[in-house]
Amino acid sequence: MYKSSILKSKIFRGLQIFCVFLTLTAFLTPAFAQEKPTQELENGTEKKFEPSEVILEHIADSHYFHIGGEIAFPLPVILYTDKGLEIFSSEHFDHGHANYAGKYHTYSLVNDKVTITDGSGSLTDLSITRNIVSMWMSIILLLIIFLSVASAYKKREGQAPKGLQSFMEPIILFVRDDIARPNIGYKYQRFMPVLLTMFFFIWINNLIGLVPFFPGGSNLTGNIAVTLVLSVITLFMVNLNGNKHYWAHVFIPADVPKWIWPLWWVIELVGIISKPFALMIRLFANITAGHIIVLSLISLIFVFKSIAIAPVSVAFVVFMDVLELLVAALQAFIFTLLTALFIGTAIEEAHH
């Protein structure tokens, strides 16, 4: 009796999770559904559904924040042009259908990129895009979570962790005991804040990226600009903390004939750059690939123009989403682990 009730509850919980995923994926579909009619309207004739266009559009950054269906928030556009700063709302573009005459130039939105309509002058787009809004939401979430956890530590000093604190503590300890300590060594404490921030920032943004509607829907950690920033942080952390032994190995390698040294320097320079470069590509590619697969599976329904394919697509999407949950944590772990490892090799004491 008792056992069977546990079994039932487990099945029930599994069903619950499945239902949640079904709803999540179901929310994606209206967003797709609205693509087609607009395209038809634009060209007057029925246009063939192009999955790659739709997928790339969803993966790329945007000047609008789609909630679902036709509803989308316009976001502020900030342009640093050759003549000065321009700030206006993206609603003036009417999803690319209208041009906006600013103080200095007239701008239009082509493929969700702001350009100067007549091609004169230059601009740098510093707009608050969907990814930035999503990032700020994740930052607020992280601050709420960890400031409350920190206050719990102050309130319950010396006591066992409780609630959110007891959920976060093993993860923090995991970062310390399995990422920082074994790779960096006894100086790990100095790098804990940046490793923890990196880990939780990547993880929470990976997770937010999995949610297909409002708070999520962005592809922040699958954006090359974001992974570039993160990997540059790693690059600086590794090389600014590099000790005498590390730089000696780069510039005056012992046991290497002097005439090879110029070649050696080139190789070492490539090594220094390629380590964070690999980090950048790994995170970007993993997260983007996940999004592409999920979107492709959903696109199958529209490619075949059949509702019958939906159950198959949804089943695969559920499988992929579960896999992506794992990948979200795994990529955060790998990024932080490799950063710790590179720091470890840079601050390692001479051992030969």
Binding site: L56, I59, A60, D61, I78, N111, K113, T124, D125, L126, S127, I128, T129, N131, I132, M135, W136, I139, L142, L143, F146, L147, V149, A150, Y153, K154, E157, G158, E169, I172, L173, R176, Q189, M192, P193, V194, L196, T197, F201, N223, I224, A225, V226, L228, V229, L230, I233, F284, T288
Partner: protein, 164 residues
């Protein structure tokens, strides 16, 4: 596809700024108190374990000491009891001896007293006997010398005996 791998410099700028703000805020207000609290708690747990171990050792030491003390106390008690028994025996034997002596002395005294009393009694008896003898003799003499003839006879005899 090209746009996918071309970093958007606006996003680079905002990400850098946002990440640094997040890092500074978390480092100061979250990681610092959290890490120090965790370290502090780990240290206190380790301390407590060490203390518990020390207390256990102390306990064992105390138990051993107690046992040793108990053993010693038992040995001492045995010695004391033994000595007490000896003393008691001594006292008893001394008392017995004294009693014997006293008894002997008393008996001696009694004997002397008895002898004295006996002597006194004997003297008394002798006196009585003498008195009685004299009285008897007086009475006998009185009777014998009741007539004149006998008295003369006696006087003559006594006179004969007297030698001048």
């Amino acid at each position: 596809m090209n746009s996918l791998v071309t970093p958007d410099w606006g996003l680079v700028l905002w990400t850098t700024v946002s990440f640094f703000v997040l890092f500074l805020l978390l480092a100061k207000f979250a990681w610092k108190p959290i890490m120090s609290a965790i370290t502090e708690r780990e240290r206190s747990i380790e301390d407590s374990l060490l203390k518990a171990e020390a207390a256990k050792e102390e306990m064992a030491r105390l138990t051993n000491e107690n046992e040793a003390l108990l053993k010693q106390a038992r040995a001492e008690r045995d010695v004391i009891l033994h000595e007490a028994k000896k003393v008691k025996d001594q006292i008893v034997s001394d008392a017995k001896e004294t009693a014997h002596k006293e008894a002997a002395r008393m008996i001696e005294l009694a004997r002397v007293e008895i002898n004295n009393q006996k002597a006194i009694a004997m003297a008394d008896v002798k006196n009585q006997v003498a008195t009685l003898s004299l009285e008897i003799a007086e009475k006998v003499l009185k009777q014998q010398l009741a007539d004149q003839k006998k008295q003369d006879e006696l006087v003559s005899q006594l006179l004969k005996e007297v030698k001048l």
